[in-house]
C-alpha cells in the first residue's frame, strides 16, 4: 500500500492548498463511502483531506431563504433538527434512510451527493427540493443545480481542487410538502433498488399547482421526471393521475439488472414508489392545513 497522508485544514483556503498540492487527493467527510472503498481496494488516495474542521462545511441554518446545509453535516444532525424535519419531511426522511444509526452519525449530506452513486437516497429528495450546490475551487466559486451535479455512476462535476461547500434549499411554498420512498429487500441496511421523491403544491381546492418528481437507482444518475410532474399538475392527485405519473416515471427510467434487482423489476417498482410518495406528500399537505 502506498503511503497515505492525512490533513485536516481549518479553512477553505488551507483545504484548497492541500488539494492543489496533490494530484491524488480524496476529500474525507463522513468517510462512510471513502473508507469502505479504501478497505476494498477500490481507491488508494495519496492524500486524505478531512474537511470537517472547516466551519463553512459544518453549518446548518434554517432562515428566510431556506435551509443552508454544510456539505459535511452528518445525517444524525439533520434528523435531530425538528424545524428542518417539519419543513422538508421528505428530504429528512431521505437523509435518515442512509445506512444504519451508526452510519447516520457520520454520513454527510455532501458526501452522499459527491459519491455519485445512482442509488444515493438523498439526491432525488434534494432534486425535488430544488437544492443548489455551492462549490469553491481554484477558479473561485460557482453554484450548480443539484440535478446537474452528478454526471454518471461515481462521477460528479467537481473539477480538480474543487470542494462542495454547502447546499441551499429554498423554502417550500405554502401548501406544499414532499416525500421520499425507496425500495429495499430488507427494512434497513440495503442500498436502494429504486427510489422516488415527490414535492407537491396544492391550491385551496386540493388541485395540484406544482410538482417535481425525481427517481433514483434506475438510471446512471438520479433523474428528474418532468413528464411525471406534468401528469400530476392540474389534477386532484386522483388514482388516474397517480398511475399516469407512475407510468411516466417507469418510462423515464433506464435501469440495469444486477445483484440487487432486475431492470424489469426496478422499472415497475419505481412507478409504484412515485405513486405512493405523491400520495404521502399530498397527505402531508392536507394534514398541515
Amino acid at each position: 500500500m502506498p503511503s497515505v497522508q492525512y490533513e485536516a485544514p481549518t479553512s477553505l483556503a488551507q483545504a484548497a492548498q492541500s488539494l492543489h498540492g496533490s494530484s491524488d487527493a480524496k476529500i474525507l467527510a463522513g468517510g462512510t463511502d471513502l473508507l469502505v472503498q479504501m478497505k476494498l481496494g477500490i481507491r488508494q488516495p495519496a492524500l486524505i483531506v478531512d474537511i470537517k474542521h472547516i466551519p463553512e462545511l459544518m453549518e446548518l441554518t434554517l432562515g428566510d431563504r431556506g435551509l443552508h446545509l454544510g456539505a459535511a453535516v452528518p445525517g444524525a444532525i439533520v434528523s435531530a433538527h425538528a424545524k428542518v424535519g417539519n419543513m422538508y419531511p421528505g428530504l429528512v426522511e431521505a437523509f435518515a434512510l442512509i445506512g444504519s444509526s451508526q452510519i447516520q452519525g457520520r454520513c454527510s449530506a455532501g458526501g452522499n451527493l459527491c459519491n455519485a452513486s445512482p442509488a444515493a437516497d438523498s439526491v432525488p429528495a434534494l432534486m425535488v427540493n430544488r437544492a443548489s450546490c455551492n462549490i469553491v475551487g481554484p477558479k473561485g466559486t460557482r453554484t450548480v443545480a443539484v440535478e446537474h451535479f452528478n454526471t454518471g455512476p461515481g462521477k460528479n462535476c467537481l473539477e480538480n481542487g474543487e470542494i462542495l461547500v454547502s447546499m441551499d434549499i429554498p423554502l417550500p411554498a405554502p401548501r406544499s410538502s414532499d416525500a421520499y420512498l425507496r425500495f429495499i429487500p430488507r427494512t434497513e441496511m440495503d442500498i436502494a433498488v429504486a427510489g422516488a421523491a415527490v414535492a407537491l403544491s396544492l391550491d385551496a381546492s386540493g388541485v395540484c399547482t406544482a410538482a417535481i418528481v425525481a427517481i433514483g437507482a434506475v438510471a446512471p444518475t438520479a433523474l428528474l421526471v418532468p413528464a411525471a410532474a406534468v401528469a400530476l399538475i392540474g389534477t386532484t392527485l386522483d388514482d388516474a393521475a397517480l398511475h399516469k405519473a407512475a407510468a411516466a416515471a417507469s418510462a423515464a427510467s433506464s435501469p440495469i439488472s444486477d445483484k440487487r434487482g432486475t431492470a424489469e423489476y426496478r422499472r415497475k417498482v419505481v412507478g409504484v414508489l412515485v405513486r405512493r410518495a405523491a400520495a404521502i406528500a399530498k397527505a402531508r399537505i392536507e394534514a398541515k392545513v
Binding site: 503511503s3 492525512y6 478497505k39 476494498l40 486524505i48 478531512d50 444504519s100 452510519i103 452519525g105 434497513e188
Partner: protein, 164 residues
C-alpha cells in the same frame, strides 16, 4: 510502507486522556484493538455493515471501522470498556444478562453502545424504534427477540419504572 511515518494523536478515551501513534490510514477500530489492546470493540466486517465496532465519538454513535484513527485528535471516544461505572454494570448490560440476550456475545459490545445512545436520546422507545435503531447491529445467534426485550426493559429501569 513499514518506514512510513506514524502520526501522533492525542485524544480522550472513556474520560481519560490517551495518546497513540498510528499509520494515517489506520482505522479507529484497529488502533483501539491492536495499538491500545482495547479489544472489547469488535470487528465483524470493517465496512460499516455489522455494527460490532460501535463506539461513541463526541456523543455520536459511529462504527469505529469507518473512522480514521487520526480523526480522533482532540475528540472524545467512549468504548465498551467504559460503560460499566465503578465496577457496576450499566442497566443495559445487566438486562442483556438477565434476558439471556446474548449467545456467542460478539455483537454484544456494539449492542450495548448503540442501545446506550438510543436510550439517552429517547428514554422510552417503542419496540419498533428499538428494532430500527439497532438494525445496524447484526446478530446471527439470537433472532433479536431477547435483545429487543432487554433494551426495552433497560429503558424502563433507566426511567425508574422497573427494578434494576
Amino acid at each position: 510502507m513499514s518506514t512510513q511515518k506514524k502520526t501522533h494523536v492525542s485524544t480522550t478515551i472513556n474520560g481519560e486522556p490517551c495518546e497513540f501513534l498510528c499509520e494515517p490510514q489506520q482505522i479507529l477500530s484497529d488502533v483501539l484493538r491492536t495499538n491500545l489492546n482495547m479489544t472489547g470493540t469488535k470487528e465483524g466486517c470493517t465496512t460499516g455493515d455489522c455494527g460490532a465496532c460501535s463506539v461513541i465519538l463526541d456523543g455520536a454513535l459511529v462504527c469505529s471501522c469507518l473512522v480514521l484513527a487520526v480523526e480522533a485528535e482532540n475528540r472524545s471516544i467512549e468504548t465498551i470498556e467504559g460503560i460499566a461505572e465503578d465496577g457496576k454494570l450499566h442497566p443495559i448490560q445487566q438486562k442483556l444478562l438477565e434476558h439471556a440476550a446474548l449467545q456467542c456475545g460478539i455483537c454484544t459490545p456494539g449492542v450495548v453502545i448503540a442501545s446506550k445512545v438510543l436510550l439517552e436520546k429517547n428514554p422510552d422507545p417503542s419496540e419498533e424504534q428499538v428494532r430500527y435503531w439497532l438494525a445496524g447491529n447484526l446478530c446471527r445467534c439470537t433472532g433479536y427477540d431477547k435483545i429487543i426485550r432487554a433494551v426495552l426493559d433497560a429503558g424502563a429501569v433507566m426511567r425508574g419504572e422497573a427494578r434494576s
